[in-house]
């Protein structure tokens, strides 16, 4: 009897030990790096971080990017998931096609959009060959901040909308058809069925999708690096910059802590906003 009780824990032990050794331990080391300098406990690293002239722009850029990208992705993922859920044929084929960008690394995704927007890129050569412009435009220059921003938004939306959609399609599949029929009989037109039935019953999946996406949005790095270099600083880029260019592990660790704190805060917020009371679950 005793051995069967212990079995699940024994089976979980390797994974648990792996996480403790390769995640929790380095995490503690990073936290120590962030809160100490020369062996003494201090907030100096955080002061250096926040007093840097680029800091407020970095924070603003990251937040702005998340605030624009996540709602666009949510709206797109919801409409795509609704359409996909209604398909009777070719549903998995379409899901696979939508999921292709998920198979690419974010750097590769950034490079794809770079080949479109750069001076010798697709967009310029098309515009020139169509005779719309005389010579290539430098879209991603420092004087075109909004173009860089738009390019990053496009890249991010293109790359990571499918993951939300896949989660939402799975969630929609769990809602019994009878609820929609009842709503239809009792007078709800399609839009009302979406807002009164789909959205409330989809809360658990929305929660998962949003938490995943919001966390990834605060960690945005490679797409921005590929498209803007350092023209559009974001938190993760600054972390990299302090660690490898400026060789200051303490400040880099402070940035990492800040990203973690923001991610946790938004996760808690989403858990609260999209909570479903136990008695009202499906």
């Amino acid at each position: 009897m005793r051995s069967t009780k212990a079995l699940p824990y024994l089976l979980l032990a390797p994974a648990t030990i792996f996480l403790v050794v390769f995640f929790l331990y380095p995490f503690v080391l990073v936290a120590i790096d962030a809160f100490t300098k020369g062996g003494a406990v201090t907030l100096d690293n955080f002061r250096t971080m926040t007093s840097n002239w680029k800091f407020s722009e970095t924070l603003r850029n990251t937040m702005l990017l998340a605030a624009v990208v996540v709602p666009i992705q949510l709206a797109m993922a919801l409409s795509m998931a609704t359409i996909v859920s209604k398909l009777s044929m070719g549903r998995s084929a379409i899901l696979y096609i939508f999921a292709i960008p998920l198979g690419l690394s974010d750097l590769a995704a950034g490079l794809i959009w770079l080949t479109i927007f750069e001076q010798s890129g697709f967009l310029n050569s098309w515009l020139v060959s169509l005779g719309l412009i005389d010579k290539p435009i430098m879209f991603l220059g420092y004087q075109n901040k909004w173009v860089i921003f738009t390019a990053v938004v496009l890249g991010e939306v293109w790359r990571a909308t499918a993951i939300m959609m896949v989660i939402l399609v799975a969630g929609m599949g769990l809602i019994p058809k009878e609820y929609y029929e009842a709503a239809e009989v009792f007078g709800a037109p399609p839009w009302k069925r979406f807002t009164k039935i789909t959205l409330p019953l989809l809360r658990p999946s929305l929660q998962t999708a949003l938490i995943l996406r919001v966390i990834l949005a605060f960690e945005v790095f490679a797409v921005v690096a590929a498209l803007s270099g350092t023209q559009f600083p974001v938190l993760m880029g600054e972390t990299y910059h302090w660690q490898f260019t400026l060789q200051d592990r303490g400040v880099a660790a402070a940035f990492a802590m800040l990203i973690l704190a923001i991610s946790i805060a938004f996760t808690l917020l989403l858990l609260y906003l999209l909570r479903v009371p136990r008695e009202a679950r499906l």
Partner: protein, 346 residues
């Protein structure tokens, strides 16, 4: 006022025909039960009336208005679903109010109608609960209340009692009948349970393989089945059938005894309900196989010419396995069927 007319409605799913040319008129305030075994097309017909399914052919009219091209919400109907479909994310109150809110009724009216129907269904103390906190019977009541609150012209019910336990089903059956009679709506009720059908219906439409075999009052359906199927499907135990050999003008030999029958050109089929026979001289010879005393009466399964033949006798009748009985059918209760077309011969 909502008379329902179904004109030549057919439904095909690919090569499979679920409904063949259904014609049926349901009078205003009538309680019509669609009765049949699973797969007979009764639910498909109900869903076509509701607008949840489109007919391949034919027309549906409700209250003098052709509705088969309209979405469900514009047909003046309400529906009770087999699995209740009580929304889990809304309270009982909001569930009942759902349709009224969709019609943008003012809050005082919503409140008054929700409270009244909740009272009618005895769930007024559950209004703030969620579906997850209710028993199956309570959910059923919410589903009915939600339909009644709409004050619809027509109420459609798809096996509403099939998920309840036997005792609760009995209780809800009686209650439904009372509530619906009082509400003066036209009702269409789908079931595979013949007892439910008999006890609720003003008229029963018996369905078989996508066709309506007979649409008549419960007593008529029971006493005068229009087809062999109706006799074998309705009644517990069902009708007994024996081959009848033509022996002369309006004369037939059934299991050795000669009976007066209808005009027919050849051999036909004799049918009798188990309770329509008495033990007496000169009847059908039967060998007792099983005796089941059921209290009020005794069900005896016998063997007539190698065929199962059941008879319901008074509970003080004494019979035991192996006895030979002579069963005399009551002349006015004998029915005859054409073995080819399976329909009744008058």
């Amino acid at each position: 006022m909502a008379e329902i007319q179904i004109k030549g409605v057919a439904k095909r799913f690919g090569a499979f025909t679920a409904l063949h040319q259904i014609d049926l008129t349901i009078a205003d305030q009538e309680f019509m039960v669609l009765l049949g075994a699973s797969g007979c097309g009764k639910t498909t017909l109900l869903r076509i009336i509701a607008g949840l399914e489109t007919p391949s052919d034919g027309e549906v009219w409700i209250g003098g208005r052709r509705v088969d091209h309209l979405p469900p919400r514009e047909r003046g109907i309400a529906m009770v679903f087999q699995n209740y479909a009580v929304f889990p994310h809304l309270t009982v109150y909001e569930n009942i109010a759902f349709g009224l809110r969709m019609q943008k009724k003012p809050q005082p009216e919503v409140d008054q109608r929700v409270k009244r129907t909740a009272e009618l269904m005895h769930i007024e103390q559950l209004l703030q609960r969620y579906s997850g906190q209710l028993s199956g019977g309570q959910r059923q009541r919410v589903a009915v209340a939600r339909a009644l609150a709409m004050e619809p012209d027509v109420i459609l019910m798809d096996e509403p009692l099939s998920n309840l336990d036997a005792l609760l089903r009995l209780e809800m059956r009686a209650e439904l009948k009372g509530v619906l009679a009082h509400s003066r709506t036209t009702a269409i009720y789908v079931t595979h349970d013949q007892v439910e059908a008999m006890s609720l219906a003003d008229r029963i439409a018996v369905m078989h393989q996508g066709r309506i075999v007979q649409a008549a009052s419960p007593v008529e359906v029971y006493r005068n089945p229009a087809a062999r199927f109706v006799g074998s499907f309705i009644g517990n135990p069902p009708m007994n059938f024996l081959p009848a050999k033509k022996s002369g003008e309006e004369q037939f030999i059934v299991a050795g005894s000669t009976l007066k029958g209808p005009k027919a050109s050849g051999d036909i089929e004799f049918a009798i309900r188990p309770e329509d026979m008495d033990v007496g001289p000169g009847g059908i010879p039967a060998t007792v196989r099983v005796v089941e005393p059921l209290g009020a009466h005794t069900l005896i399964t016998t063997d007539v010419d190698g065929k199962i033949f059941r008879v319901v006798l008074d509970s003080n009748a004494e019979a035991k396995t192996g006895d030979r009985l002579s069963l005399v059918p009551r002349a006015d209760r004998i029915r005859w069927f054409d073995p080819q077309s399976t329909s009744a011969i008058q």
